[in-house]
């Protein structure tokens, strides 16, 4: 699995994990993110059960496992958090921040020792050794209880399934040509995102944030002006197309 340091400051770092060459063919490629401060770390959307061993191996290359004190699940999907039962046997005294709506569902993945911290509908802010991480609502994008992570200091938005692209394996981490990239996002957003109203509400909220990097859970990272391009593209896209009109 490839690892890329996407942000580094005196207070914390963002690491991106993905493009696993050993991933079984029919499993969707996912991006996992680790934010580490001096003594703590949070794994964002730690991934599916099939991915666990390679993620574990990748994480211990970066931090001692005892430093992973928090997990975050944007929603309940298996590619997001089905590895929970194994992280539960790995991490002592860790907390999982996840939507209140999905607690009784996510617990089906197995959770004895990790503490579930419910994120309420309006979201909340986690203070990770002085770094403020905002869990901002992204409900219905695509799950009915859904959050993204905004780091105002790093100007990074981890945008879950928003901005995801279905591309061939092994593509670069960053978007280099937005227009040619858009075709890989279109079907996914039209079908997976169910609500234009939810989409517009999210765009309005996110447009007020200062974002240098938008990091989805599948596909490539949007940098600089491509973030704005994405918001414009998304605002024009009709979503919820699963039912023929």
């Amino acid at each position: 699995m490839l690892v890329k340091n996407i942000y580094q400051s005196s207070t914390h770092e963002w690491l991106m994990f993905g493009r696993d060459p050993d991933k079984p063919e029919k499993i969707i490629d996912t991006n996992q993110y680790l934010i580490k401060t001096a003594n703590k770390a949070i794994l964002l959307d730690p991934g599916g059960i099939e991915l666990f061993p390679i993620m574990l191996a990748s994480v211990v290359r970066q931090v001692p496992i005892s430093q992973v004190t928090h997990l975050f699940a944007s929603h309940q999907d298996p590619d997001i958090i089905s590895s929970l039962g194994l992280w539960d046997q790995t991490l002592e005294g860790a907390q999982l921040y996840a939507p209140w709506l999905w607690e009784s569902f996510i617990r089906h993945f197995g959770m004895d020792s990790i503490e579930y911290v419910s994120i309420p509908d309006p979201g909340l802010t986690l203070d990770l050794e002085g770094v403020a991480l905002e869990f901002i609502p992204a409900h219905y994008l695509h799950a009915s209880g859904n959050y993204h992570v905004y780091d105002a200091q790093a100007k990074i938005l981890m945008s879950g399934d928003v901005g995801a692209a279905m591309e061939p394996v092994g593509v670069p981490f960053e978007v280099s040509d937005f227009d040619s990239h858009a075709k890989y996002m279109e079907t996914f957003h039209r079908r997976w995102m169910p609500s234009n109203r939810a989409k517009d509400d999210w765009i309005e909220r996110v447009s007020t944030l200062d974002i240098d990097m938008m990091c989805p859970q599948h596909g490539r990272v949007f940098i600089g002006d491509d973030v704005k391009r994405f918001l414009e593209w998304f605002s024009k896209l009709e979503v919820g197309t699963g039912i023929p009109s």
Binding site: P53, I54, L56, V60, V63, S66, E92
Partner: protein, 214 residues
């Protein structure tokens, strides 16, 4: 090497014979749940037998005495099978927990090998040991539960042997109850024999499944 140091040789001896032990545990639990339902049927048969024997009057006096034994057998069988069923459910849960711990250990092993050059690899040792200890504890619980369950199954099988005797005695008494009641009373005897045979079949099936775990 770290993995060899951490791995306990006893870890693999018990479960390696059958990787599907948690499926076997679930099948045993299902068999014994079915046995409990059949045992409850004996109880109903006993009530019917009592009512029938009363209606048959003096001619079925001998049969009436046997209905007490059928009821005793039904009560004992329902009680035993309920207890066994509880044991089987707990045993099935233990096996599922054990499978999860085994899965975690296998994934940890993979990570150890894959990240052998990691500076923080030893930070996994605590989690590995904890899971290993949990796995061993579950193995011990599992073994105790298998033993207890085998013993209870043997007791139940022994109780059910009396059902064959009761069915034979019932047939003899039924033949003396007069033409009107002989048929229905024989049916009671047959029901007891059939239920006992079915429970014995399920018990034998469970015992057979346990041999795969040995």
């Amino acid at each position: 090497m770290l993995i060899k140091f951490l791995r306990h040789p006893a870890d693999s001896c018990f479960m390696s014979t059958n990787k599907n032990y948690f499926v076997i545990a679930a099948l045993v639990a299902a068999d014994l749940h079915a046995a409990m339902a059949v045992a409850q049927g004996i109880s109903l048969t006993a009530s019917n037998a009592r009512a029938l024997a009363l209606r048959a009057g003096q001619g079925a006096a001998g049969f009436r005495a046997i209905t007490d034994s059928i009821e005793e057998l039904a009560t004992a069988t329902v009680s035993s099978s309920r207890l066994i069923n509880e044991h089987a459910s707990a045993f099935s849960q233990t096996s599922a927990d054990m499978a999860r711990a085994e899965t975690a250990l296998a994934r940890f092993d993979w990570a150890y090998e894959s990240a052998h050059d990691s500076p923080y690899l030893s930070s996994l040792d605590g989690a590995y040991r904890r899971t290993q200890m949990k796995h061993r504890r579950l193995q011990n619980v599992f073994k105790q539960q298998v033993r207890a369950l085998c013993s209870k199954l043997e007791e139940l099988a022994s109780e059910l042997r009396t059902a064959t005797v009761l069915a034979a005695m019932s047939r003899v008494e039924a033949s003396q109850a007069g033409a009107q009641f002989e048929g229905p009373l024989n049916l009671v005897a047959q029901n007891v024999a059939d239920a006992a045979a079915e429970i014995q079949r399920l018990v034998r099936s469970s015992q057979q499944r346990f041999t795969y775990l040995a």
